[in-house]
Amino acid sequence: MRTAVAELGVRRARSLTEALDIMREEIRTPIAGATDVYVGLNFGTLVPRRFVDIWGISELRRIDVRDGQLVIGALTTYMDAIRSPHVASRLPMLVDAGRQVGGPQIQNRGTIGGNIANASPAGDSLPVLLAADATLVVRNFATERRMPLAQFFTGYRTTVLRPDELIVAIEVPPVTGKQWFRKVGTRAAQAISKIVIAGVRGPSPRLALGSVAPTVVRAHETERLLGMDAIDDAAAALANEIQPIDDLRSTADYRRRVAVNLLRRFWRDTA
């Protein structure tokens, strides 16, 4: 079946500067691995539009350690993250998350920056980055700004990103404590999560969840109680702190129960 996708306009940017200049001139949706955008186009859930293709911008596809921070270029694919020694040593829960995104075909094309920009509450890498206190670096033709990832999402699939801005990098400070990740879906691979959770057990425990609210969320009250090692109170708090819904993948009741079970599992596994 030939789709209407072919008729859409694409401009390819070969450098970040070129991409930002194109986005200054006119509104164009960035595409990289296209694993979300082309699904939306193929199924008519995304209104056809003009694109700027940023896939080939190699300067955004790097993983470095700078000034003690792990700096993940926005075009880093899940497979890049899975294979990166820096990610393995500093943020192993991102390796775990990357391995559970789709299958190898999607891991080879989907990017971390794309997962953030897509802003789905079910994005597999997002609870990891949220629990890691990641900072987002976004840029337009004139300026760069930084914000905690938690301030990026404003609601269901909405963000503070302006039409002329690109996500360029994710900065992750050192994470103290044991990292833990778990995704629950209908099957092990090729599943969108019913619930996804990332935890860090350190001096101040951190917990972030996906598919339980309009955006990925940190569970701050649960974290506070975990900090006092009050796991039963934390479990009660978590059930109130999330706002899951019934949808085609699961039910609110199931998600609430599994979230609490996963919290207890996290606490046992990292004891």
């Binding site: 789709t3 996708v5 694993t35 082309y38 699904v39 199924f43 896939w55």
Partner: protein, 153 residues
């Protein structure tokens, strides 16, 4: 636009936003690559770009400029993995088979059955139950190891 297709340099005229899958099937007349779901869920349209398996239904054609694309036709008609899929009954209706084989080509050295399962995690088969597919690939890799690791061995 220039790219390498199954080892030959080609110049193909197609819209930049066209799906690689459509360009392969219509412009290049290589219909071995199948469309299953059209949303990256089933892996039937898997091809290799610079050696990496990808879903060609989700690749804008412009992104393969100067890249090396390999489809099932690139294996010819006498590849040992094709014979093993037949001998082990790893194919029934056949729609998933080209994608399964392309994904299998990217498997690393001395794979365990779990490595093979992970490599094929992005490919769905609704006929065989997967056991025969894993067996075919496992036997191929055992043969290849004996033959010194050549991809066409």
């Amino acid at each position: 636009m220039q790219f390498t297709l199954n080892g030959s340099d080609v110049n193909v005229d197609a819209p930049p936003a066209a799906r690689l899958l459509d360009v392969l099937r219509h412009e290049c007349r290589l219909t071995g690559t199948k469309e299953g779901c059209g949303e990256g869920e089933c892996g039937a349209c898997t091809v290799l770009i610079d050696g990496d398996p990808v879903c060609s239904c989700l690749v804008p054609f412009s992104q393969v400029e100067n890249a090396a694309v390999m489809t099932i036709e690139g294996l010819g008609d006498d590849h040992p993995l094709q014979h093993l899929f037949m001998n082990e009954v790893g194919a029934q209706c056949g729609i998933c088979t080209p994608g399964m084989i392309m994904a299998a080509l990217a498997i690393g050295n001395e794979p365990t059955i779990d490595d093979i399962k992970n490599a094929l995690a992005g490919n769905l088969c609704r006929c065989t139950g997967y056991g025969a597919i894993y067996r075919a690939i496992f036997k191929w890799r055992q043969q290849r190891a004996v033959a010194g690791g050549k991809i066409d061995a």
